[in-house]
């Protein structure tokens, strides 16, 4: 292992030995307090306008949004979206309590399996932990209730997001994650629009390796 030799080489370059105790304590405190830097003004808005900004940004990045009044309206919104896109009604859903509590039986044509996604799944339904208005970004921390494969393997990902979970800036989403989840989850994806590539002649094409459609069902619970 070259750990010691690398650390020694770094300190030689910085022309000092290991940091003195008081400096190490200061840096430790900087990590614990994790101060924010400049946050752009664009997301410093009343909450209702943050929600609108989030929607505009998702659409700007080639995603789509359906706004519904409550959780009861989600199955209808999902069924309508699938019909409009000419997609099958067979879904793989995150085993998240908020999604499981939705009255899916009101739409009996939807055939729902719960768990992680497999390569054969065409449409996934994911639970979004937060929405970030600044750039129209979804925050999806992994957990047994929120498998990562749901964000990647299906051609179409539908994310259910409560309007009350929309924040302005990334920093506010991190604080929400620290407060509600605590330690860093194994995987946190920040997703902004559907998968794309510009590797062929630097020209944008949607649907590279991840979902080619990203649809957000936004539940207006914030009032």
């Amino acid at each position: 292992m070259s750990k010691q030799s690398i650390l020694t080489a770094i300190r030689r370059g910085l022309k000092r030995g290991p940091l003195p105790e008081h400096q190490a304590v200061m840096l430790q405190r900087r990590m614990t307090e994790h101060p924010r830097h400049l946050i752009p003004a664009r997301s410093r808005l009343p909450h209702a306008q943050q929600v609108d900004l989030f929607v505009r940004n998702v659409e700007k990045e080639f995603g789509s949004v359906a706004r519904v009044a409550d959780m009861e309206a989600v199955p209808g919104a999902v069924a309508d979206y699938l019909a409009a896109q000419n997609l099958p009604g067979s879904l793989i859903m995150a085993p998240h309590p908020e999604l499981r509590a939705i009255p899916w039986s009101t739409r009996p044509l939807l055939e729902i399996r719960q768990g992680r996604a497999e390569a054969t799944d065409a449409v996934s339904i994911q639970h979004a932990f937060a929405g970030i208005a600044e750039t129209g970004t979804l925050m999806l921390p992994s957990s047994p209730q929120r498998p990562v494969t749901l964000n990647l393997l299906a051609d179409t990902e539908i994310a259910v997001l409560r309007a009350s979970a929309i924040v302005g800036a990334y920093e506010e989403a991190w604080d929400k994650l620290r407060a509600e989840i605590g330690a860093m989850p194994r995987n946190v994806m920040l997703i902004t629009g559907p998968s794309r590539s510009a590797d062929i002649e630097q020209t944008l094409e949607l649907g590279a390796h991840g979902p080619r459609r990203l649809h957000v069902v936004l539940v207006e619970d914030a009032a």
């Binding site: 292992m1 070259s2 750990k3 030799s5 690398i6 650390l7 770094i10 300190r11 030689r12 370059g13 910085l14 940091l19 190490a24 840096l27 430790q28 900087r30 990590m31 994790h34 101060p35 830097h37 400049l38 752009p40 664009r42 990045e61 992680r116 390569a119 750039t135 957990s143 047994p144 498998p147 990562v148 494969t149 964000n151 990647l152 990334y170 991190w174 860093m184 989850p185 194994r186 995987n187 946190v188 994806m189 920040l190 997703i191 902004t192 629009g193 998968s195 794309r196 590539s197 510009a198 590797d199 062929i200 002649e201 630097q202 020209t203 094409e205 649907g207 590279a208 390796h209 991840g210």
Partner: protein, 474 residues
């Protein structure tokens, strides 16, 4: 290791200028990168201030790098991962191979990683019977063509549709030979289908890292395709390749850097997938890798600390410098002869493979300063190239004729009366000689200039003479 051809930069550049396909690609793609960045920057009034913030964060992290790396390692261990410290490319290759062998790996999928190119990990795995598969679309075709990337965020920058079609026809012989490639979408779908089965079959996934976070022990990758995420989610083992200068203190620090990264790179406000990975699969998780390894690589970085090149370690690999560089725009990335092209490569490459092998690169600059003006972490790239030129001169690596002429020029320049006399005589003579055409198409001793373009004839007067005549700057 890739054999560096940086020593042959002049020949490479000459060949590049005559390469019609490359010139077509450069003419098409160069301007769009510039326009997209400009639009993204214009849409964020705080961008300039954020560049200062980004610079300060990286400077703070570098000044305390030993502390933050140890803090980072502790967090990785806490979350069930492992950190392998590697002093050079050889150690890193050996560690990666050992992890793959312990996993009985036959195939390995890879997300795009420049440090992976730097340590030539693919060659090493192949030599040992393990098949690496690049999954970023651009890297995939580069691998099929056995090339180096020509751009650090757009590896296939130099290719056109007909190159894609011929590479795919040659590689995917199991598909019908009469299939058509009408549009880019056909290429994309074929690659997606081909690679999907590779993702599912791979035993190990290797990604790079845009940042490491000391606060949480996380590695970050930023992609638009989602290939990096499939690479690090589906196989049983995830290996992260990261150089030591990627480490920043907190999520807030990384967030501020991310705000300038995508805007500077592709002109997006944010990349599609920005993913934070922290350790191995947790109890109850339904997916994710069972092993998480970070291969932490020095390979010449610590030797840059405390030198004038320390600023280069702030680089976040956005490629804005090469996108705005007139030299890169004329010759493309391969002419630079190694892994890192453009202005950042001209500073980094001599530091990593030696100024004796890469001395041409810091000379391949007009010093127009555009690279520094767009750099999101404000690296003084022209100044650093100038430092390399000085080092090259000190080590007597510059050609004899150039040294003699520079010596002569210095002798004259240190004696103002002689300098004025010499400029008066030569501008008078050249002005008289060139009075008809107003330019010279060839001139003795300056063939290096006149071979490529005309030298405008002086108007017969020196600056000093005009200055005196005009009444000393009135």
């Amino acid at each position: 290791m890739h054999i560096a051809t940086s020593q042959a930069f002049k020949k490479n550049a000459h060949d590049a200028l005559g390469n019609a396909g490359l010139q077509k690609a450069l003419a098409r793609s160069g301007p769009s990168f510039i326009a997209r960045r400009a639009a993204a920057v214009a849409a964020l009034p705080e961008f300039e201030e954020l560049r200062n913030t980004a610079r300060d964060i990286k400077n703070h992290a570098l000044a305390n790098l030993d502390f933050y790396l140890e803090a980072y390692e502790a967090k990785v261990l806490e979350s069930g991962g492992k950190v392998h410290w590697c002093a050079d490319a050889g150690e890193a290759r050996a560690v990666v191979l050992a992890i793959c062998q312990a996993a009985n790996a036959r195939t390995v999928t890879k997300g795009k990683s420049m440090i992976g190119e730097e340590i030539a990990i693919n060659d090493h795995l192949e030599e040992n019977g393990i098949q690496p598969i690049e999954t970023d679309l651009g890297e995939y075709i580069i691998q099929l063509r056995h090339e180096l990337p020509s751009h650090i965020i757009a590896p296939a920058f130099h290719l056109n549709m007909d190159d894609w079609e011929s590479a795919f026809r040659k590689a995917h012989t199991d598909l019908p030979a009469d299939r058509t490639f009408h549009e880019r979408r056909d290429v994309l779908i074929e690659a997606r289908t081909k690679l999907r089965s590779k993702f599912l079959a791979a035993d190990v996934g290797i990604t790079g890292a845009n940042f490491l976070i000391a606060e949480t022990g996380s590695s970050i990758i930023v992609t638009n395709e989602g290939n990096g995420d499939l690479t690090q989610t589906l196989p049983r083992v995830h290996i992260v390749l990261a150089s030591i200068e990627k480490c920043v203190p907190t999520l807030e620090d990384a967030t501020s850097l991310l705000r300038v990264l995508a805007r500077s790179a592709t002109g997006q406000d944010f990349s599609v997938y920005t993913t934070f990975s922290t350790g191995a699969r947790r109890p109850g998780d339904l997916d994710g890798p069972e092993e998480y390894h970070v291969v932490l690589i020095d390979n010449g970085r610590s030797a840059m600390l405390g030198t004038e090149f320390q600023d280069m370690l702030r680089c976040i690999r956005c490629a804005a410098c090469m996108n705005h560089c007139p030299v890169y725009g004329a010759v493309g990335g391969h002419a630079y002869g190694w892994v890192y092209p453009g202005p950042m490569g001209s500073v980094l490459t001599p530091g990593l493979i030696g100024v004796d092998k890469a001395g041409h690169l810091p000379n391949a600059s007009t010093f127009c300063g555009k690279c520094e003006s767009v750099c999101p972490v404000k690296i003084p790239l022209p100044g650093l190239m100038r430092h390399w030129r000085e080092r090259e001169f000190e080590r007597h690596l510059t050609p004899g004729a150039m040294r003699t002429n520079m010596g002569l020029w210095a002798f004259v320049a240190r004696r103002p009366w002689l300098y004025r006399l010499a400029t008066r005589v030569s501008s008078g003579a050249l002005g008289w000689l060139g009075r008809k055409k107003g330019r010279f198409t060839s001139l003795p001793l300056v063939g290096g200039w006149t071979d490529g373009r005309d030298l405008p004839a002086p108007e017969g007067d020196t600056f000093f003479a005009r200055y005196a005549r005009a009444g000393r700057g009135r």
